[in-house]
């Protein structure tokens, strides 16, 4: 009976310690909202997509297109860094790689959104988009 009591006590202590650690971990992560839960995070794009973008960026054809549009040579180094970070994360689950990728992609999103829109965006599609054509309605 004494052994059974000791086992039960140890089990309860063990449960207490495990739950305390889990609570502490959640509190720690909650204090760091920029770091996603490692168990669910994955690179925003597959590594193959970073490789394809880097390869496209470095091509002669892209140089021509970019010069034709922007009047300067394209910058491809960031795609190379992102590819390296993606592979690093896949191999070692590196936190630095995760941070670097998130930072890079956020910068891309910010750059795409920096222009002020000329018009106001809709909250819902136009009401008449799906309505029949006027002559069909008359029929």
């Amino acid at each position: 009976r004494l052994c059974l009591l000791i086992c039960q006590l140890n089990t309860r202590v063990a449960f207490f310690i495990v739950h305390w650690l889990a609570d502490w971990g959640r509190a720690w992560r909650a204090g760091r909202p920029d770091m996603a839960d490692c168990s669910h995070w994955q690179p925003p794009r597959p590594c193959e997509a970073y490789r394809a973008e880097w390869k496209l960026c470095r091509s002669a054809r892209h140089f021509l297109h970019h010069y034709y549009v922007h009047g300067e040579r394209p910058a491809c180094e960031q795609w190379r860094r992102d590819l390296a970070s993606c592979r690093d994360w896949e191999e070692r689950r590196s936190a630095e790689a995760q941070r670097s990728l998130c930072e890079s992609e956020r910068a891309r999103v910010q750059a795409a959104r920096k222009h002020i829109l000329v018009w106001a965006l809709r909250q819902s599609p136009p009401a008449d988009w799906h309505l029949p054509l006027p002559q069909e309605k008359d029929e």
């Binding site: 018009w119 599609p125 988009w129 002559q135």
Partner: protein
């Protein structure tokens, strides 16, 4: 729309705005006809209509620019139905197509669309207008800046101003020539549907250019050819993963 080849734009529907009518009615005569604007079966334009329908079908099914636009519009609540939202009609002048915001319909000028590649570009161009109509409160009829912005985006993103197309038009230029082409073609498209001076149209384009030239939605980049369009479509399909992991 203008009389120049390959230029298209958005136009108001028949009777919508009296001050606009005299321009658009000259371009889309069928849009003002009373009753049925569609081609009849025994019409002498049956062959060109049939070609237009077949080319349109092929574009909708295979072109990566169009497939991305259709997906993006569906995501925004404007699923496109070929029979409802497209119409093959004869048009005056050299106009290739237009977007009729009052009926939410894309007009394809069956007598002016030369081949499949041309159809691809026209559909892409007009779908960009339709996409803008779907996602934003675009005042096509009374706000010249809105019209200018959509024309800048359509000229920029549809392939209208690709290096090859410009060379075929005998417009030679390399460094930043794309931007010159976009400005010029947007101005021409505005002049086709608005009875205003070239100076006023050009000023409207200049006012909105910085913002609208850099608005790449839904492509996320300027699709210089089908490879870029496919990559853009891949990114669009991946957007849930993308935004949940940055």
């Amino acid at each position: 729309m203008t009389g120049a080849p390959d230029v298209r734009g958005s136009g108001p529907a028949a009777g919508e705005q009296l001050q606009q009518q005299h321009v658009s009615c000259q371009v889309f005569p069928k849009r003002l006809a009373q009753g049925n604007p569609q081609q009849g079966f025994l019409s002498s334009f049956f062959t060109s209509n049939q070609k237009c329908q077949l080319r349109l079908l092929r574009t909708l099914e295979t072109n990566p620019y169009v497939k991305l636009l259709l997906d993006a519009m569906k995501h925004s609540g404007c699923a496109v139905n070929k029979d409802r939202h497209f119409s093959c009609e004869d048009c005056n002048g050299n106009v290739s197509g237009g977007f009729d915001a009052s009926t939410s319909q894309i007009v394809l000028c069956q007598n002016n669309i030369r081949n499949q590649a041309h159809m691809n570009r026209v559909v892409t161009h007009e779908l960009i207008h339709a996409f803008d109509h779907c996602r934003a409160h675009v005042d096509w009829f009374t706000n010249l800046r809105h019209l200018a912005c959509s024309e800048v985006r359509a000229a920029n993103l549809s392939g209208d101003c690709s290096l090859v197309n410009e060379i075929f038009r005998f417009h030679f230029g390399l460094k930043q020539h794309h931007q010159t082409c976009v400005r010029d073609r947007a101005t021409l498209s505005i002049l086709a549907v608005r009875n205003i001076s070239k100076e006023v149209a050009k000023n409207a384009v200049d006012e909105v250019f910085e913002s609208c030239f850099n608005d790449y939605e839904p492509f996320g980049r300027i699709p210089h050819n089908k490879t870029y369009a496919r990559y853009a479509h891949r990114d669009f399909q991946n957007r849930d993963r993308y935004y949940s992991n940055i």
